[in-house]
Subunit: 150 residues, 2 copies
Amino acid sequence: MSHSTEITFGSREDRGAVETGLVFAPKFDEHGLIVAVAQDEDTNEVLMVAYMNEESLRQTLEIGEAVYYSRSRKQLWHKGATSGHTQVVSKILTDCDQDALVLKVHQHGPGCCHAGYRSCFYRNIQEPGAPVALGQEIADQSYDPNQVYK
Amino acid sequence: MSHSTEITFGSREDRGAVETGLVFAPKFDEHGLIVAVAQDEDTNEVLMVAYMNEESLRQTLEIGEAVYYSRSRKQLWHKGATSGHTQVVSKILTDCDQDALVLKVHQHGPGCCHAGYRSCFYRNIQEPGAPVALGQEIADQSYDPNQVYK
């Protein structure tokens, strides 16, 4: 998925068209962001949840790799640019009101998570209580983040 | 997944503990919300992306069915309460910085989407351009929403 001509998004004025039409009219929130769920294209595992602004979404469409917007660093974030753990995007889905995206990706390298796991979702709620306890969903780190992020 | 004792969440002061510890310390944004991805527990299909506030998350843990917070209606939203299309939650995962949730659910009824589809993600980007064109990802509606939401 890559393209060279100018990329523009559709109008959101007609709510019916947003829900049933075939023009991409993403809704960016008051911070100019839309939520993006990265999902392994083969297993459907959810790898991470991140955010995109207009420019990162355009770049994603242009280069065919996931480019997010880092809310903490307040800048474009070409995923894997330093670690090599890029995400090749094979498909982007949008939902009924077009305020969320799902990216089907091929994850390069051992994982997407800076904590060393294949998926950022490596823990699950084990026991509701006071406080709620987590358990380890994925047994082991798939790589040593200290060797990748120096 | 259901519980009766009081449910509390952990502190987010220790960033290391948030990322590697086993205490659930969800981060709610400036609106008091956390994003939640509902995923079919069998196929891993992403069904919808919604939001929870503290109370809806507690209720989800208590009753074992997905309770979201509707940003448009500004109220708790027990998914399926009127349509019957409830989501039985078998597992909740959280990510490294605990600002996103994945709910593994069993979707009751023909679908979760008010537009009549099994998943809200029934369209995908077909052609980047001016404007970007969508294609139909899921061929047919799985039910007639006018028969369900009257």
